[in-house]
Amino acid sequence: MQITVNGTSETIDACTIAEFLAEKGLIGDGVVVEYNYQIVKREKWPIVRLQESDNLEVLSFVGGG
């Protein structure tokens, strides 16, 4: 299955957002997820299943002025 993650195309197995992040080694603290241009709250991550052609933005807060 092909999805776009942070602007880059990626092939993944079917999974939820939570599973995807865990795979990537992200526990999720301080991480924000935009799923098809909508914010998905943390409590929804285990529920939302990624689909073919989905667009995922995984963001975090960093230092800035």
């Binding site: 602007g7 992200l26 924000v32 963001l59 975090s60 807060f61 960093v62 230092g63 002025g65």
Partner: protein, 257 residues
């Protein structure tokens, strides 16, 4: 009596008029030390895509509870991107404060005033407390007032240059003519410049680079905080005008024969 000189912005009150930023610290562990030494009560953060290849460090975990977060929209090149980033930041649980930063020029990082105004209008309507980062420009500042901004954040000099109050005269005009709080942001490189901004009547100063890239950021944060307080105190204690000729401080009456 000091306790009464509070800065009110968007329903919040601040006793410390130095705002700070989290960018460019050699180590994030310096951030809480700087915050403690300076007493700064609000600090900026940015949002970025996670780089899966490297470990993600959560900047928020370095910011003590009592300090307010001011996410910025850095990376935005137009009003739409700024609005989108602001919404993400709010959804992320960071509260409804937002510093709007719309930049197209990568050499001087100067903000696009009109795009910032448009983003301000949209976000203020959505309930954000909006801090627009702009070129100092009185007609624009008045439009920001009408658009619902909580403050105006004019730059003193381009970001990170440490060149101080290069736009001094335009900032003075803002201070004199705007009802909104004026927070001088960007370019302030030395405590004396921050003090001068406060003496001119600015309501607060935001300093990032000059603190985070100092050899000792905690000490520099404290220095800026004291300078900001000194400038504010002098503003309230009413300084005298400059005089062209000398005015003796010792008596000049005849003395000794």
């Amino acid at each position: 009596m000091q306790g009464e000189d509070l800065l009110a912005i968007g329903g919040m009150t601040f006793t410390n008029r130095l705002f700070t930023g989290t960018g460019k610290f050699a180590s994030k562990a310096l951030i809480p030390k700087m915050l403690e030494a300076s007493g700064s009560e609000m600090i900026t953060v940015a949002l970025r895509r996670v780089d899966f290849a490297s470990e993600t460090e959560n900047i928020l975990s370095y910011i003590p509870k009592g300090v307010r977060l001011l996410p910025n929209t850095s990376g935005a090149r137009n009003e739409k991107e700024a609005v989108r980033i602001a919404r993400i930041a709010r959804e992320a649980g960071c509260g409804n404060l937002i510093k709007i930063e719309v930049i197209t020029d990568m050499k001087y990082l100067l903000p696009d005033n009109h795009a910032t105004l448009l983003a301000t209008e949209t976000l203020a309507k959505e309930g954000f407390i909006v801090f627009p980062y702009v070129m100092p420009d009185l007609p624009l500042a008045r439009q920001l007032e009408d658009a619902g901004a909580a403050a105006v954040m004019p730059l003193g000099a381009p970001i990170g240059t440490n060149r101080g109050l290069e736009t001094r005269s335009m900032i003075e005009i803002l201070i004199e003519n705007c009802r909104l709080p004026i927070i001088v942001d960007a370019g302030i490189g030395r405590p004396s410049q921050a003090a001068e901004a406060m003496e001119m009547g600015a309501d607060a100063v935001l300093v990032n680079t000059a603190i985070s890239s100092a050899e000792d950021p905690a000490a520099m944060g404290q220095a800026f905080s004291m300078a900001v307080a000194a400038g504010r105190m002098a503003y309230l204690a009413k300084m005298r005008e400059e005089s062209k000729t000398a005015v003796a401080s010792s008596p000049l009456t005849g003395f000794l024969s």
